[in-house]
């Protein structure tokens, strides 16, 4: 399929906060969401009360509120990143198996994760560099990647060395196969799936410029829609 129109919605690349705001805006009202450790946590700052989003934390809670401050800090109330958080009205607590059953049973609408690499068909690599001396640590990444109805990735498009993190096939060890549905980057939003990669919008670059950076064929969402 040829590259047709490009939908440039910003004239410059998005910063981390702008990207978090965009992800937050894209979450459907009433969704149950798990935000991964790191950059995805920023998304919570931009969720609006009227969106009525319920946050899950895999260490045993639904209805998680913002980070705790001052007197609110309670060592028994933390998120998956081990940061003290708060409890919203309507919250519930459960043990680890019940908590992962929520995730693994397909009940979460969306999880948002960071990534080292995402393949054209939505394979995710986000837990292990594969370096021979690295101590592997996986946490809940594989459960999140496999269990949520939609897996959104947030990352910079390029590594520090300028290589695309969207790749033909992941070279880092996989977290999950064909699980990522959307990739939010500073330069563009990509939709991934069995049919490959579609660009929903670009930030500060044209689709042609984006294609030069990314080693897999890109389609425009506008062209697909057209």
């Amino acid at each position: 399929m040829s590259i047709a129109t490009s939908i440039q919605t910003s004239d410059k690349p998005l910063g981390r906060d702008d990207l978090a705001e965009l992800v937050a805006r894209d979450i459907a009202p009433g969704s149950f969401v798990n935000l991964g450790i790191g950059q995805p946590t920023l998304v919570s700052n931009y969720l609006k009360p009227e969106q009525n989003i319920t946050l899950h934390t895999e260490n045993g809670m639904l209805g998680m509120g913002p980070a705790a401050e001052g007197d609110e800090i309670d060592g028994d109330l933390i998120n998956a990143g081990k940061i003290p958080v708060t409890e919203l009205p309507g919250a519930s607590y459960f043990h680890h198996a019940d908590s992962f059953a929520i995730m693994r049973g397909g009940h979460l609408d969306i999880c948002v994760l960071g990534a080292f690499q995402v393949s054209a068909t939505g394979d995710l690599a986000n837990w292990h560099t594969g370096a021979p001396d690295a101590i592997p640590a996986v946490g809940g990444a594989m459960d999140l990647a496999t269990g949520a109805k939609d897996v959104f990735v947030m990352m910079t498009l390029l590594t520090r060395e300028g290589a695309s993190k969207i790749v033909e096939a992941c070279t880092y060890p996989l977290t999950g196969v064909g699980c990522v549905t959307r990739v939010y980057t500073d330069k563009a939003v990509f939709l991934t799936g069995p049919d490959g990669v579609t660009v929903r919008e670009t930030f500060g670059c044209t689709l042609e410029e984006l294609q030069e950076l990314v080693p897999v064929p890109l389609r425009s969402a506008a062209a697909v829609a057209g």
Binding site: N59, G75, D76, H95, H96, A97, V138, D143
Partner: protein, 219 residues
């Protein structure tokens, strides 16, 4: 049989060399620090420890690892900024690591308590953590066969116990406590408060006393 003991040292005194010991907690929430310290004191070695992490800083599980008392860790997230004792033992080849996705860890512990011989799960399919494991496609989805994790002893922390060993927990400190209590042959619980039997609402019991063997109150 349920017993109420006076000290954490007495509570862990039955733990033998070579035991598999589950330790509750996620981060500091729900960690039975006093029981871990007592495990340190009791001298048991060649332990297989099941915990979400592999020790942090210079306390608790990290010290147990530093002292070479842990033969094998079964956990989901050993590498942390302050997991230096585990890191050193691992790089020295002095500790075995079974790395398990956190949901598989929880489900395998739950399976042990529930008498399940093994189960298929999509988590980990197609990854290096499924290497060497049986897989099959079920309803179009690749799945990995995972086995229960049983333990000789569980050391957990709860908020309150009543006279028959029923437990309630507090907020996200609940985490692995209930499933570890069911998966271990002998479950030791440290609680903040012991209330008379009848003092906990039967509707709100999280761990029924059938899963509890020793209770010690920790100030």
């Amino acid at each position: 049989m349920l017993t109420f003991v006076d000290s954490v040292n007495e509570a862990v005194s039955g733990i033998k060399d070579g035991s598999t010991v589950m330790i509750g907690g996620f981060g500091n929430a729900g960690q039975p620090f006093e029981l871990i310290d007592a495990l340190m004191d009791c001298g048991a070695k060649d332990l297989t420890v099941v915990n979400n992490n592999a020790g942090q800083g210079d306390q608790g599980l990290a010290l147990l690892i530093k002292e070479g008392r842990v033969k094998k860790m079964i956990c989901s997230f050993p590498r942390q900024s302050d997991s230096w004792h585990f890191d050193a033992k691992y790089h020295a080849g002095e500790i075995e690591l079974e790395l398990v996705p956190q949901g598989n860890l929880a489900e395998r512990i739950r399976a042990a308590g529930a008498g399940i011989g093994g189960f298929f799960t999509p988590t980990g399919y197609g990854t290096m953590l499924a290497e060497g494991k049986e897989t099959r496609i079920i309803n179009g989805r690749g799945q990995v066969f995972e086995t229960p994790i049983h333990a000789d002893v569980a050391l957990i922390k709860a908020l309150k116990a009543d006279g028959v060993g029923n437990l309630v927990y507090r907020k996200t400190a609940r985490n692995f406590g209930p499933i570890m209590a069911a998966a271990a042959k002998h479950t030791v619980v440290q609680v903040s408060e012991i209330v008379p039997t009848g003092g906990l609402d039967p509707e709100n019991i999280v761990t029924p006393g059938i899963y509890v063997n020793s209770i010690v109150k920790v100030a």
